[in-house]
Every structure is written in structure tokens, then in C-alpha cells.
Symmetry: C3
Subunit: 260 residues, 3 copies
């Protein structure tokens, strides 16, 4: 069974499933691109009123698929395609989807998984949910196009805690820090997520779309990054520590960083 984005529609609610069960639904480059395509298809449908995004089984998504990075994201140019087009395109397709989106989160919701869940409109978590982005151990920086979403959701203090400390937050802590909408026992989370989707679907759909659009429109803007700032965002690709971080990950050992 290949990694994929599954999509199922029941009545006016679509369920999008991150499907890569061998890797806790780690999101591959193909899955990022496919997520964008699926979300655009769903966006086009007039009959939908809510999209629920989840992972296969007992995980949301454990991150991006790190094993692909050596081939697909190893230079500034590759990173522009990988992050700037594929990941940013997928995240933007979640944001741009006219229909409200609900993330159902069980188990790991890490890195790219957190980025996807963070762009949904509501986040219903089971108690097993775990949140973080411990990329400081891998030696790379979060892409600016991804960090903006985390900042809009959680604010600078929580974003810095997650990125600088690299700790994994449990569901309760994630709730207390504003990362999720509500937390339930795992056995009840799926039912609550669909109940939420049905509450949304019972409302006037045009009103939902206008609210979604207007909340985004009223967000304060930051000045766009200059080309040099974008380059610096991917400067890690030329560091020894990035090589060491990726090597240590492959060798399943602690990295030894030198600051170079």
C-alpha cells in the first residue's frame, strides 16, 4: 500500500486521510502534492459543507518524510520546490478551501503534521495526541511559509518553545497553549470530530465561507521577506550540522552539533 491521500465523501462531509501507515503517516513529497490536488477538488464542490482531515489509524502525521530529503530537498533550488511549492501549496490549499476544515488528531502530530493541523479551522484531539517540531535535532529550520501558520495559531512564545526546545507536548499542554480546540479521551475523539463537522454543516454554508475568509482578511500582515531573507531561511543546507543531523537520524543516534 503506497503512501497516499485518501478522500471519502459521505453526505456533505468529506474525509481526507493522510495515508502512510508504515511511517505513522509521515507526509511524502507525493502526498504534499496530492493533498493540494485533493483539497482543490473538494474546494470546487458545491455540495460539501465541511472537510475533516485525519491520519490513517492511530496517528495524525509524524512529520514530513525525512528519508526523502537527501534526494528531494538538498539544495536551495530543491527547497524552493519542496517547501515553496509542494508544502506551501498544500498548506495554502487547506487555508483556501472554502469549506470549513476540522482536524481529527490522534497520536503524533509532528512537524509537517502540526503544520497541516494548524491550518485547519478547528482541531479536535484525542488524549494520545502529541505535538511538536523537533527539527533542531535534525539541523534544519522551519520554512518561513510554514512558520507563519504556527505563529498565527500559537503566537511567538509558544512557537519559540516548540522550535528552540524541541520538546513534544501532550494533548492537555497543547490545549492550554492554544494549539488545539478541545481534547477528549481517544475513544471519543472521532465521534466528537464528526459531531463538530455536523454542527458546522448544519449552519448556513455561505456564512461559514464568509467568516473563514473575513477572519483571514483581518489578520495583521507582516512585510514580505526579501530574497536574501528567504535564502537565509534555507542556509542550513550548507551547514555541517545539517549533514550531521540527517546522518544521526539515519543511524538512529544522537547528533553531535558543532555550530558550523
Amino acid at each position: 500500500m503506497r503512501p497516499d491521500i485518501l478522500c471519502e465523501i459521505a453526505g456533505d462531509i468529506a474525509t481526507v486521510t493522510l495515508f502512510n501507515p508504515d511511517k505513522l503517516n509521515a507526509v511524502t513529497a507525493a502526498m504534499w502534492q496530492r493533498l493540494k490536488a485533493v483539497m482543490h477538488e473538494l474546494d470546487d464542490r458545491e455540495d460539501l459543507r465541511c472537510v475533516l482531515i485525519r491520519g490513517e489509524g492511530q496517528a495524525f502525521a509524524a512529520g514530513g518524510d525525512i528519508e526523502e530529503f537527501a534526494n528531494l530537498r538538498d539544495s536551495f533550488e530543491q527547497a524552493q520546490t519542496y517547501h515553496g511549492e509542494w508544502v506551501a501549496g498544500a498548506l495554502q490549499s487547506v487555508v483556501d478551501c472554502r469549506h470549513p476544515t476540522v482536524a481529527l488528531i490522534l497520536g503524533p502530530c509532528i512537524g509537517g503534521g502540526l503544520e497541516i493541523a494548524g491550518q485547519c479551522d478547528l482541531r479536535i484531539a484525542g488524549e494520545s495526541a502529541k505535538f511538536g517540531a523537533p527539527i533542531l535535532k535534525l539541523g534544519f529550520t522551519m520554512a518561513h511559509t510554514e512558520l507563519v501558520g504556527l505563529l498565527a495559531l500559537a503566537g511567538p512564545a509558544v512557537a519559540l518553545e516548540i522550535l528552540l526546545e524541541g520538546r513534544i507536548l501532550c494533548a492537555r499542554e497543547a490545549y492550554e497553549k492554544g494549539l488545539v480546540t478541545r481534547v477528549l479521551p481517544d475513544a471519543e475523539a472521532e465521534a466528537e470530530a464528526y459531531a463538530t463537522a455536523h454542527r458546522i454543516a448544519a449552519g448556513a454554508p455561505l456564512v461559514a465561507r464568509w467568516h473563514k475568509q473575513l477572519v483571514r482578511r483581518l489578520a495583521p500582515a507582516t512585510s514580505p521577506l526579501a530574497e536574501s531573507e528567504i535564502r537565509e531561511n534555507f542556509a542550513y543546507l550548507d551547514t555541517e550540522d545539517y549533514r550531521e543531523g540527517m546522518k544521526a537520524f539515519r543511524e538512529k543516534r544522537m547528533p553531535r552539533f558543532s555550530g558550523r
Copy 2:
């Protein structure tokens, strides 16, 4: 007893009461206009140090008075007066009041009630307090001039939860999501709200005014909406779903929305 805004002054603390006890203090068009006038009068007084805003009895305010909408807010032009002048004028008069404002919240604090409480400087809630804006069931959108206040208080994720899901939040949940300053047993909430007003009144009044002004001044700005965006904000008035939502409300039944 007609719907009204009551105002009582004791020492250096004014109490403003939303008074429409037959309708859980639902705010009528006349009350919005009167709230603005009352707040301007209080703003002018040099002898005041704090304004406490509450509802009559065991409710803050259950919303705007929906029954008036058919006559007073049924076209884009009417909406410019109703929302753009009356509601926005009242909310701005709370924001602009030089004196610090404290909301005492018992029971329903919904829609227009939440908007008023959200523009106060502090919010003291009893455990009976309930928060929300379930207008998706009525088929209309929150006016942009009202949404900005909710966003400034609660951020985009909580605003979207409230608007897209239409659920009513209990006092504890509202506290956890930053909607209220603190929560107490109902029997203690009034005493705590006045104790808070007295703590404020014991401070240097000019300092309070400067702090209030400076916090507002340092808020990040969003670019003003274009005329076309303002028109879109009230486009619901031309939808079938708005008619259906209002009809269902009058007939006390669930609405059936078509997305048109």
C-alpha cells in the same frame, strides 16, 4: 418596562446596565444608540474612575434583538446604519471611554453581548456565564466592525471556532480560551467585579487612561476593507439562507439551508 440602558453612579464608579429583562437583555437598536450616548456622557465626566457594564438580573445579553432585523436591518443600506453606525458606534464608545471598563457577566453573553463584553477592558464572569455567536444558524455573518474586536480579544482560532461551529462555551472554557479575565461562583462574581473596579479606581486615573490608550495604539493594524469587501460582508442579505434562517428562528424550528 421598556428596553433601556440604565446608568447609576456611586462615588467614582458608574454602573451601566443593559436592561431588556423580557428578552435576556437582548440589545435593541434603541439600546445600541443609547449605550453610545451613555458611554459618551460617562467619558466626559472627570470624577469617574471606572465603568462597570452588566446586564439586568441573571443575564449579560443574549444578543442583538433579532426580531427587529426584518424592519431595521434588511438591506445593505439599513445594515450600514444598523451595524456601521449604531452597533459599531456603541462598541467604539466603550473602547474610546477614557475610564477603564469592567464587564460583569452572568448567564448568556451571546452575539452582541459578547461583542460588548469583549470591548471592555476586563471581564469578570460567574460560572453561569455562556459565550458564543451562533449566527450560522440564523444565516448571517458577523459585521467586520464587530469581528475585529473578537479577533483582538481571542485570536483567529477561537474566533473561527465560535463562528464556524456555533457552539456555546461555558465560563471555564471561555476562560481557558482567553475570552474572560477570571471566573467565580455566581454568588461571588458581582462582589469580585466591584472589587476589581475599586482596585482600578484606587490607582492613578490618568495613568489608567494612558495605559488604555497606549495598548490600543500599539495594536498591529490591518489594511482597511475596500468598499467591495464591505459589500460582501453584508451579501448574506440577498441569500435564500438568510430568509430561511430568520424564518426558522421566528417559527422556533431548525433551519434547512441550501447554500444559496
Copy 3:
């Protein structure tokens, strides 16, 4: 033992200690200037990976050293030096430090203490920690260069609560309102703060620096204050209430404010 900023380095972690134990580490003008110098020195060192900021003994810092104000901050010109150069310079040196910063907070973390802790990247608090800025009782306004940091950390509602009410928040309440990263029993807070510093130090240091810089870069901007607005920020210096507030503080009695 004179008030000072102590600095100790162990491996790749520096500990900066606010040292004024006779006054619960109240920050003197000399300490503000020295904090800036110390942070700049630490910023220059390539061998560091984290800076921990704490107070001597069982206090973080009880505020600025108010007794100095009569001599050092009594006119608009003095305030430009005291707040605009010394305090703002020290706070900016914490923000600008390339290395991640962790505040360890026990006991009072008030006024200037809260400002310093608020500019650190993470805040580990013991249960004895107390937070606030009750300057409304002293008759003066928080300097705009200091308020921006409190607003970025806690948002406008919490900032207004702190400034208008002047109440002291316990550690749990501060956590619930987003002022601190986590709270532990006092006996465990130091160990957790250093464990946090070690988690940070185990990550790739360049990545930490880039994350810190990018989070700041992506913060929404406010338009700079005009000269007249800056003057108004210090207009309290010409009020009777400021004289009364300072006098009451010296005489250890409640102030009687007139609003002039």
C-alpha cells in the same frame, strides 16, 4: 555587596543573575546598563548555546529600583535616558542575543522583572513566582518601549488586566494567561530550567539562532510612535499624582490620587 549582574559560564550554558538581594533584586540603573553589556558579551561568544537568566536567591526581580527615580528619572529628558537607553537597551540586548534565553523565575517577577523575563525565549517558573506591574499605585505609565514586549507576550487583554488592575498574579494564573512556559514546584524549577537549557543546547545552534530571528521577523509591526506620542507616554512626570505616588511609596502608605 553591591547591586550587580553576575555572569557564570558552565560548558555551553551561561547563567546571568540579577543580583540585588537587599531589594529582592530590584534592578538599578547601573544593573540595566550592566545587563546590556553582559548580554552583548555573551552574544559575541561562539561557544555558548543557551543563556539562563535568574535572580539571586528566592526572587527574580521585584521591579526597577524605585528609590532612584527621584534623581535619575524625574524629567522627560532623564526618562529618555533611563527608559529609552538603559532599560530599552537592556531589554533589546536580551531580544537580540543570538543564543536562546531561558528565564528561571522564583518569587517576585514584577515591573522591570516581568519585562526582562518577558523578553526571554522561554520562562520556567516555580510555584512561588508572582507576576505584575502595579505602577498605577505609583502614578506612572509603563514606557512604550517596555509595553511592546508585554503585548507581544500576553496580548492586549492580559496587558490591560495587569496594568489597569495592578493585581499580582500567581504562577498558575500567569501560566493560564500565557505569561510563562511552564510551572513547577519551587524545589524542581531550577532543575527544570537547566534541563530546558540543556535540551536547547543539544540542538543545532545555528538553527536555534535562525528560528529566534525568524519568529521576531515575522511579528506584525505597529507604526512607530510620533514624537508627541512619546512625550505623552512620559506626561505623568508633570502630574501631581506621580508626586503623590512616589511620596506614598516612600512613606509606606496608600496614595491619594486626584487625577491631576
